[in-house]
């Protein structure tokens, strides 16, 4: 048995369950929140960074990424749980590797999305706002 596995395994299960709930929740509610936030707004709302971030997160490919990640978290949790029952080291090793991989991917994803949403050409956006709001 791996040293300290009796502490690591329950921690891993908890971390996975909490992560699964958070990311599946984000994937489910962000598109709805985005729709509500932009429903009666004009294009000038695009000047706000948080709205651009939510819009970016609501893209289909990003929602898909969050759903896949949350399912991998679920698998990690299940592997941790199985280790607690059967005490097979390989189960915990796979679960730990998956957890490290998921955290790495999530970090890259969060940085990518946050930086992506910063970039906006203000003068160009002003032109578009001006041309698109004449009949509002």
């Amino acid at each position: 048995m791996i040293n300290g596995s009796e502490i690591v395994a329950p921690m891993l299960v908890n971390f996975s369950i909490v992560g699964f709930v958070i990311f599946i929740g984000i994937a489910a509610f962000i598109p709805m929140a985005y729709d509500v936030l932009t429903r009666n707004e004009t294009l000038s709302i695009a000047r706000n960074y948080p709205i651009r971030l939510i819009a970016r997160l609501s893209e289909t490919r990003n929602i898909r990424f969050l759903i896949i990640t949350s399912f991998f978290l679920l698998i990690t949790g299940l592997l941790g749980l199985l280790f607690l029952f059967f005490e097979e080291d390989i189960l915990l090793e796979i679960a730990l590797m998956l957890a490290i991989l998921i955290i790495s991917f999530l970090l890259i994803f969060i940085i990518y999305i946050s930086v992506d949403a910063i970039s906006i050409k203000k003068a160009e956006l002003d032109d578009i706002v001006e041309y698109s709001t004449n009949l509002d």
Binding site: I45, A46, K121, E124, I128, L135
Partner: protein, 156 residues
């Protein structure tokens, strides 16, 4: 992507507008949505007509909202209604009043126009290529969809 490559260009004058509209149509891959007064002189131009027909053939969805009276347009732009009849499943034409004249290509390339008197073309246009932030294209698409839902269907 990380770098915003969006380009905007203000264009005035019929010839320049024609060139830019053709350029936008050539970029189409998925869908074309347009709201227009359909000036017969402009849209009967062989270059514009060819670009539109080619673009309509290569995309999956075409939505056209005619601003104002459509009956005269049905006579003046017979070719447009004929092609709409030919590709009935993907080309839909509706009619509405008081809307801005836009051309939306694949939700990322746009032609936006300032309101002007009827029978005028290329008064004040803004061409937007490669919209980077999804919020910008979403808001413009939403506005067009609002007009589309309010508009009345026309049998081609």
């Amino acid at each position: 992507m990380l770098v915003d490559n969006m380009q905007t260009q203000e264009v005035r004058g019929e010839e320049q507008t024609k060139e830019k509209i053709i350029n936008l149509l050539e970029r189409s891959e998925k869908y074309i949505w347009m709201s227009s007064g359909l000036n017969s002189e402009f849209y009967n131009d062989p270059d514009v007509k060819t670009a539109m027909v080619n673009a309509f053939k290569q995309v999956e969805d075409v939505r056209i909202i005619i601003d104002g009276d459509y009956k005269t347009k049905k006579v003046e732009l017979r070719w447009l209604f004929e092609i709409a009849q030919q590709f009935r499943e993907k080309i839909r034409i509706k009619q509405h009043q008081n809307l801005l004249h836009w051309l939306i290509v694949d939700g990322k390339h746009f032609r936006l126009e300032r309101p002007h008197k009827t029978e005028m073309v290329g008064v004040d246009n803004l061409f937007v290529i490669d919209v980077f932030q999804p919020i910008v294209s979403d808001m413009l698409n939403k506005k067009f969809t609002k007009w589309w839902l309010k508009a009345t269907s026309i049998e081609p």
